[in-house]
């Protein structure tokens, strides 16, 4: 219960390889090897809790949606439009707007592509007209969301495997970290500011302990979201016939699969009526998705699925209708125990059931997780700097870690903000505009790495943190100049997506400025001189060069 566990632990270091030592080693190396990837996954994943808001901000042409449109009418409009642009599509599916989206995302399989490669189309639709959205071309918040589990510039499957490996390392780092530091659970209000390595350790411990339920949950559930990819062996052994595959799929999602079309044309009955029936059952705003198979054919089926709001589960609940007659065929509201467990874990990861406050809790605790990974990475260099034979000439391994830390922590902030700048500055008519926003993100990120390599480490930290702070602070200004939705306007209009985005940028700018100031204020001190404490969550901030 005494407060100096960590110190004692360090003193007994040379004595044998106890389980704490081996777990500590496992924690350090599992954390370091995947640390940079994990940091990027954590941060982009964290902002993805606001991906719909981010997407709205990145399509400023779409007006602020003061009131939620009638879901039944929206569904009908988009269904009509899909019938026109994808006639004979074996399957289309749309996500209806909720309070957080002002467009309808839909995808469809192209007719006649069956057998060979499946061809897909996707687009965002305007709920008011049903037509395709005419906004600047951008991936919006979905870029960060997709990046956080499949990266970019590589086949999607590779990215997902890398993300899975990183998540597995994270899981091991969490378990081994808990075993190594189990005493801090009893006594975790023990932070001492401004003591060099100790304060880093304390900040890392605190961030880990406070958010532990979240960190463990988010890591395991992250693996669960893609578990069929990572652990296909049971499925491959047991699920062999198409019927069995259908059975399994029905436990996981509400995407009904098309049967063989009859070839007999038959118009789709009123989709709006089907949505209304579902609303009667689940509530006015509870319909999430409408999927249709073989629409326009006499074998058409329409599934109206319940959304994620208000229930901690992604398990499919849907009402199945006969397409041409609109007759209710089946209502599915339950899945097996294992499937429900998976549905709950999946929902916990995405947090789409959240009300506004819970979403912010998700965001903030996830940010703590990001900071936990970041402090862990920096601690690796701070700890080792003390043991360097010649601190002026560190060995190559140390230098690599040190520079990668700068680019992957401070540099990522710069690059992510640059992505948003690109959204406002790239010309609307640019070919492949959405892709260029992403190229810009990676180009800036690469530049921060070059900068981190070329400049002295401490200077590089300071300059990049200031760069991030400046870009973030000026983003509301850029938004005011390039759109007709500046902060004063959005506040008076009660447009909290735009106002919130501007205010968030300013807060994050302040956070980066504080980190930059603290890093700059800390002078490297000669060895053995105990440093005077200054405190701060990030333990005297990013002072790299102190013993």
């Amino acid at each position: 219960m005494k407060t100096d566990n960590v110190k004692r632990e360090r003193e007994q270091r040379p004595a044998g390889r106890g389980i704490r030592q081996s777990m500590s080693g496992l924690h350090i190396w599992a954390g370091l090897l995947m640390g940079w990837i994990l940091y990027a996954m954590f941060l982009t994943g964290t902002v993805s809790y606001f991906k719909d808001e981010l997407s709205q901000w990145m399509r400023p042409e779409l007006a602020h949606q003061a009131e939620l449109p009638d879901p039944a009418l929206v569904a009908q409009r988009v269904a009509d439009e899909l019938g026109a642009i994808a006639p004979g599509s074996p399957q289309w599916s749309m996500r209806l707007p909720d309070g957080r989206t002002n467009s309808v995302y839909a995808f469809w399989r192209t007719a006649g592509a069956e057998g060979g490669r499946r061809a897909f189309g996707e687009a965002a639709f305007d709920p008011a007209t049903g037509g395709k959205v005419t906004a600047r071309e951008t991936l919006g918040g979905d870029f960060f969301y997709r990046f956080h589990f499949q990266f970019h510039y590589m086949p999607v499957l590779w990215g997902r495997w890398i993300a899975g490996a990183a998540a597995m390392f994270m899981l091991v780092a969490i378990v081994s970290g808990v075993i190594t530091h189990k005493k801090i659970f009893i006594d975790f209000f023990t932070f001492r500011g401004g003591k060099g390595q100790r304060s880093w350790l304390d900040a890392h411990n605190a961030l880990s302990v406070f958010g532990l339920p979240f960190h463990a949950m988010i890591t395991y559930t992250g693996l669960v979201t893609l578990m069929a990819l990572y652990m296909p062996w049971g499925e491959r052994t047991a699920i062999t016939t198409p019927a069995e595959r259908q059975q399994l799929s029905a436990e996981l999602n509400a995407f009904i699969q098309p049967g063989k079309p009859s070839g007999q044309a038959a118009p789709l009955a009123s989709v709006a009526d089907m949505v209304r029936q579902a609303q009667e059952r689940w509530g006015q705003d509870a319909v999430g998705r409408v999927t249709a198979t073989n629409s326009g054919d006499s074998t058409a089926r329409v599934a109206v699925a319940r959304g994620e709001a208000g229930r901690v589960s992604m398990s499919p609940q849907y009402m199945l209708f006969d397409g041409p007659t609109g007759r209710l065929l089946e209502t599915r509201e339950g899945v097996g125990a294992a499937a429900e467990t998976r549905g709950v874990l999946y929902a916990l990861h995405l947090g789409r059931f959240s009300d506004t406050v819970t979403r912010w809790l998700y965001f903030l605790v996830s940010l703590m997780g990001t900071a936990m990974v970041g402090t862990g990475l920096v601690m690796w260099t701070v700890k080792r700097r003390q043991k360097l034979a010649d601190p002026e000439q560190p060995h190559i391994g140390f230098r690599i870690v040190e520079r990668l830390n700068i680019a992957s922590i401070a540099g990522l902030s710069v690059a992510m903000t640059a992505f948003l700048w690109g959204n406002r500055l790239l010309p609307a008519g640019l070919a492949e505009r959405g892709a260029w926003e992403i190229h810009l993100f990676f180009a800036v990120w690469a530049l921060t790495l070059a900068h981190a390599v070329l400049r002295p480490a401490r200077t590089a930290w300071i300059e990049q943190l200031w760069a991030a702070a400046a870009l973030l602070a000026l983003l509301p200004v850029l938004n005011a100049v390039t759109t007709d939705r500046p902060l004063w306007h959005s506040v008076t209009e009660a447009d909290w997506v735009f106002a919130g985005m501007d205010l968030m940028c300013l807060s994050l700018a302040a956070l980066h400025a504080v980190l930059a100031l603290r890093t700059a204020r800390h002078r490297p001190k000669p060895r053995t001189v105990p440093a005077k404490g200054r405190g701060g969550v990030i333990g005297g901030a990013l002072e790299e060069g102190r013993s």
Partner: protein, 106 residues
């Protein structure tokens, strides 16, 4: 409103639990509290935390309630933790630390 209530309860609970640790007592009062006072703080902290859990479960049921409880506790612990650092470093700089209600009690 229920969110605010649960958050404040979590905050109070963690403040009590923090004050029940020797380190915080030393930092804030310069001496340890009596074992009885420490035990009282620990029991009160745990009790108030359970109350917050009860409020959320009653409001949102098990699924959402537990998720929200986990969020509120994590954030409240973080806030109390930062406050403890702030108070400690204010004391170290020799300025009169902001007096917390708890320290007036002693």
């Amino acid at each position: 409103m229920m969110h605010l209530l649960s958050f404040v309860l979590c905050l109070a609970a963690f403040a009590a639990l923090a004050l029940a640790t020797e380190r915080q007592q030393h930092d804030l009062f310069g001496r340890p509290l009596s074992p009885a006072a420490t035990r009282l703080l620990r029991v009160a902290g745990t009790g108030v935390m359970l109350l917050a859990l009860g409020v959320l479960l009653d409001w949102q049921g098990w699924g959402l309630g537990l998720v929200m409880f986990s969020g509120h506790t994590s954030l409240a612990a973080g806030v109390v933790f930062c406050a403890a650092i702030g108070l400690a470093s204010a004391r170290r700089r020799g300025k009169p630390a902001a007096i917390s209600p708890a320290s007036r009690r002693v």
